[in-house]
């Protein structure tokens, strides 16, 4: 299925391919259907549709200089590029570009760990380095730092940070873009730029002061299309000596408000790691009377039934990193704070373990209480164990989750905001005729970002119809959800390319002032619009007519 980049003649494309081959070698330029199959989004909602987002070719550089040569050639022939790191990012588009026919710049071969310093606690890596790679490097060299890993560990540190990905340890490290310490970027004209102290030729502190001097453009490269990042630094968490967890439950629905206040307080003082919220009332899901009360958001009735079942309404699992004594002190302090604010709160000591955990401790799921906390990721141990969620399991032996997608809205970091979002999301699901997955009245947020909550939208996608028509219908429905959520003030933090214009539309303050600003910059910096046009809804002038094109 040979396709061309939009607006590029077959002759120009062939000339471009030859120059790409000159730059990286013939073995690393891919144009056959067989090779390009692996550059498609395996979980695409529009697989095999005429507008499926597939590349015309892929090129795999090994050095920054080769990336510069590729960018210069792309400018010469006006070929749009789309850069990927390890090319995972599944649920958010995988390796697929925003514009069909782009040439994918596959940075996987650039997989060098340039620095990993366990005294100053940072690493400097290339885009092809995965979380698993860095973890293994740390283990092999007995370094005293941890990796803050997302769920699947095959992703790239740079790619994940570029898409504002998250992790599960202490707050500062969970925001992967926020924990970056400067970057090197090939600009759309092929020039090389370094941010922060890297802008200083003789700097000895590139990974230690990311602001440098003057305006810092680093934010433009996250979820952006202003260049191709070829090196990036990350702050690493020093390996703690001890880990402890504990469970707090509170009886009434409104007790969520003080519970979250305490967890925010502890987290923002760096006294605990990621809090994991949940509701013990999940147990009552099969009870029609309770379910009716939950679907109606009848708080009094929910509290009554919870008390009758001797169940509490909410729980949070707290985790502490440090020494045996400091983790104990922080846990005791957490109990004291909650007890002051919430009458009837209960506390269960969890486990208290010397780190690094043994293989058996990492695998353990039993403890003083049933836990939702996934041990590996709280310990910074990357892997692929979580991938069972997409595949064949005992509960799901004859199908796989081929519409795996991530859509999470940002909500305020308070109990009031959570309770309101539950009602708002349920109302949107009702309005759009979408089956609700569960009574949204017991849905809890995730605190992946230290200073924000995210909540999934809590609906099903039409009975699991994975036929091509079913997927298209689900895509259309998701667009409606994003529009409705946006109108209510809930913006998503990340999306696959087929929905990026829809998410960008949510951010419309002052007649899209932010988008207009970004696109003014884009046109100035990338006049040919060759770097990832359309990424995160930022369209260069030459491709701007394609905005919203995925909706048709």
């Amino acid at each position: 299925m040979a396709i061309l980049p939009p607006g590029v003649s077959a002759e120009s494309f062939q000339s471009g391919i030859r120059e790409f081959q000159d730059a990286v070698g013939r073995d690393w330029v891919f144009t056959s259907d067989d090779d390009l199959h692996s550059y498609r989004d395996h979980f695409s909602y529009i697989k095999d549709q005429p507008n499926e987002l597939i590349p015309s070719a892929a090129v795999g550089p090994d050095t920054t200089e080769q990336v510069q040569a590729i960018v210069r050639t792309a400018n010469k022939y006006k070929i749009p590029l789309y850069a990927i790191s390890t090319g995972k990012n599944f649920a958010y588009g995988g390796p697929s570009p925003n514009v069909r026919g782009s040439v994918t710049v596959d940075l996987k071969r650039m997989n060098r760990i340039l620095v990993c310093d366990d005294k100053r606690n940072f690493a400097l890596v290339e885009p092809g380095v995965s979380y698993i790679d860095l973890y293994r490097h740390i283990q092999a060299n007995k370094l005293n730092v941890w990796v803050d890993t997302p769920d699947p560990g095959w992703g790239s540190l740079i790619g994940n940070a570029m898409d504002h990905g998250i992790g599960y340890t202490m707050g500062y490290y969970r925001d992967h873009f926020g924990a970056h310490t400067g970057m090197e970027v090939v600009l759309p004209n092929g020039e090389l730029l370094r941010t922060g102290m890297g802008a200083m030729p003789a700097s000895q502190s590139w990974q230690e002061y990311r602001h440098g001097y003057g305006p810092d453009p680093a934010g433009l490269f996250g979820q952006g299309n202003f260049g191709i990042v070829t090196k990036m630094g990350f702050r690493l968490m020093p390996a703690p000596e001890h880990w402890r967890n504990g469970l707090v439950t509170v009886p009434k629905r409104q007790d969520l408000v003080p519970l979250i206040e305490v967890a925010n307080y502890l987290g923002d003082l760096a006294m605990c790691g990621e809090p994991w919220y949940g509701s013990p009332l999940t147990e009552l899901m099969g009870n029609t009377e309770f379910r009716d009360a939950a679907l109606a958001f009848n708080e009094g009735e929910m509290d009554r039934q919870a008390a009758s079942a001797n169940l509490h309404s909410w729980q949070v699992e707290l985790q502490f990193y440090g020494s045996e004594r400091t983790t104990l002190a922080n846990w005791e302090y957490a109990k004291e704070l909650v007890a002051r604010k919430v009458p009837g709160a209960r506390f269960t000591d969890g486990e208290s373990l010397k780190t690094p955990l043994t293989r058996e401790q990492l695998a353990a799921t039993t403890g003083p209480y049933p836990t939702n906390m996934r041990r590996n990721i709280t310990q910074g141990v990357p892997g692929l164990g979580i991938w069972y969620m997409t595949g064949r399991t005992e509960r799901n032996p004859n199908a796989w989750n081929e519409t795996h997608i991530g859509l999470f809205s940002l909500i305020g970091r308070s109990g009031e905001a959570v309770l309101k979002a539950q009602q708002d999301f349920a109302a949107v699901a009702r309005k759009l005729g979408m089956p609700s997955l569960f009574p949204n009245a017991i849905q809890t947020p995730v605190n992946w970002y230290q200073f924000a909550f995210l909540m999934g939208n809590g609906f099903g996608l039409g009975g699991g119809d994975v036929s091509p028509a079913g997927k298209l219908a689900a895509t259309a429905k998701l667009r409606e959800v994003l529009r409705e959520n946006g109108a209510l003030g809930y913006g998503d933090y990340r999306a696959p390319p087929i929905l990026q214009d829809d998410v960008a539309d949510q951010y419309s303050f002052n007649n899209f002032a932010l988008r207009r600003f970004n696109e003014t910059l884009k046109d100035a910096i990338d006049p040919n619009g060759i770097i990832s046009p359309g990424r995160a809804g930022v369209w260069p002038a030459v491709f701007r007519s394609m905005r919203g094109g995925m909706r048709s």
Partner: protein, 122 residues
């Protein structure tokens, strides 16, 4: 044995040793690549959330119900061609792997490693 026959026999011995040595090196490289790129899903460790197996191994256990081993390292039927198909095309929730991640040489080496591991050598 004449001189020329001796020379031929020696050459055959040297070639045979060289081939065995090269095969061992292929398998060694294949093992390293397998452990890097395949074992996180298809290894013999335990899975997440209390699951007894890693997801790829568990999926194959459910699929084959004992008619084939769940562990790839025990499979005798995975030659380079079969591996290439799964790696490049993907299957079910396993996405395809790109030629920058797993090269043609890697596929050959992994096949050599699986031949060795499934025959009991490792």
């Amino acid at each position: 044995m004449s001189g020329s026959r001796k020379t031929l026999a020696l050459a055959a011995l040297v070639l045979g040793s060289w081939a065995a040595c090269a095969a061992a090196q292929d398998a060694e490289r294949g093992q390293a690549k397998f452990e890097h790129s395949c074992a996180p899903c298809h290894g013999d460790g335990v899975g997440d959330d209390g699951r007894a197996m890693l997801p790829g191994t568990d999926a194959l256990r459910i699929k084959y119900q004992g008619s084939l081993p769940a562990l790839l390292e025990k499979r005798t039927d995975l030659n380079a061609e079969a591996i290439r198909t799964f790696v490049r095309r993907g299957t079910w929730s396993m996405p395809p792997f790109r030629p920058t991640e797993v090269t043609e040489r890697d596929i050959q080496d992994i096949a050599a490693y699986l031949r060795q591991s499934s025959s009991g050598g490792r």
